[in-house]
Point group: C2
Chain length 247, copies 2
Amino acid sequence: MTDSTALRVGELARRTGLTARTLHHYDAIGLLRPSARTAAGHRRYTAVDVVRLQQIASLRALGLPLDAIAALLDAPDADPRAVIERHLAHVRGSIKQQQHLVERLEALAAFHRDHVAVSTDDLLQTIHLTTMFEKHYTPEQLEQLRQRRKTVGEDRIQQVQQEWQALFAEAQRHMETGTDPAAPEPQALAAKAEALIGEFTGGDTSIRQSLNDAYAENPGGMHRLWGVSPELADYYGRIMAAYHARR
Amino acid sequence: MTDSTALRVGELARRTGLTARTLHHYDAIGLLRPSARTAAGHRRYTAVDVVRLQQIASLRALGLPLDAIAALLDAPDADPRAVIERHLAHVRGSIKQQQHLVERLEALAAFHRDHVAVSTDDLLQTIHLTTMFEKHYTPEQLEQLRQRRKTVGEDRIQQVQQEWQALFAEAQRHMETGTDPAAPEPQALAAKAEALIGEFTGGDTSIRQSLNDAYAENPGGMHRLWGVSPELADYYGRIMAAYHARR
DNA sequence: CTTGATCCTTACGCGGCGTGAAGGTCGTAC
DNA sequence: GTACGACCTTCACGCCGCGTAAGGATCAAG
């Protein structure tokens, strides 16, 4: 006869969409202790408890940790604004990290979509290279590259990939026929390659420099990823060397 | 004399920037077991182990769970593309949830920045109301409101808040002087209020309807949040009723 | 042989519960 | 009174990726 409207765990759980286990947990950590119990120890939740539980659920829906909720509800002089702002900053930070992750994952996925053979080794190679990139580029340069990707558009990027493939295919033919890398036809390829690189770097010489550094540190690695044989990579290198020597 | 270049945990940890505990853990779960041990049981990591650890670290940097990494590295026929895509989808989903959270938190923060008294009770009231809003509006309507907020701009929203405050202040004066809600001056306020609401809804009648529903379900709640007394809320209601009855 | 640095295993802690296991209690029907 | 099914209780391990001791053994150099 204490309170005929008192609820038992199961009922309260059903009404709030939580589970009895959750209510047990809240009880255990002192976040929500039922204001009464039967003689045998069964929890009886009164109207006061229900209100508090709804408050808890509201704050939980904002992603607040249970101890922060307890602090808010049990210390009436606490500043909810500060709590919200802190939590907001926290979530924003978490989002930024994950967005960075998404960018890396997207780069990987995009790269491998154009690739034929995709073994786990290839994946690891690609990761290694992108890590190299991030090591050689400053944050500002990386941001600039992101902007540039947006401006040129995803379609054009796809197109450029294929142009590189075509370029290497043609270089392969020249190599097989024994054409001098300094001959006019390979040199035309060099000009095309430079144009593609220029489009990628947006004409930024510091980015161009970092790109060269990344290549230098990882001899042949890039080419292996593009499906280019070491011989062709070497031949390509001589084409470019002749091109730059001549300028 | 097994391998003079073999590394001990501490050394390997330093080189990779991990901790010895992490390596212990990887050993315990079978992700990276050192290929040798001393007679007394000290772990000796060989070059092979170092390579594998770098691979593990690369994949961890993508946020992959340890069991997925183990599956990738130990099953050479696994499809890395699928793994990446799945993980990408997972991270994207997580970001979306958090962005939703951020929106709610921002709405709360923005609301409370304009408020004077910010008790925890006020916060809970606001949460309750925004929850109500989300219940009454369809996802499309909510998206529409988000777009609208962007188009009108944050500054204008601030301005509108103040206009509402001014509007209620003037209504208060009329109420205190006993002016008839249907008199020309209060009715001018009604027109102004309708204009503000129209700006908020962007002229969408379904949004207008949902707004009314939310108000109806939560009698007085909104006004309490705006710092409006129940009497003034009632007076305001009669102004608007007269305004709509006349049209 | 001693010493200091490094290593070993074992085990609890974190956050927010899920998922049992083993057994008591509630309310209603007979 | 008692039988029954639905409900309740506490206890305790599991998850994920380690951090952080505790208590003792071993390594490499002098």
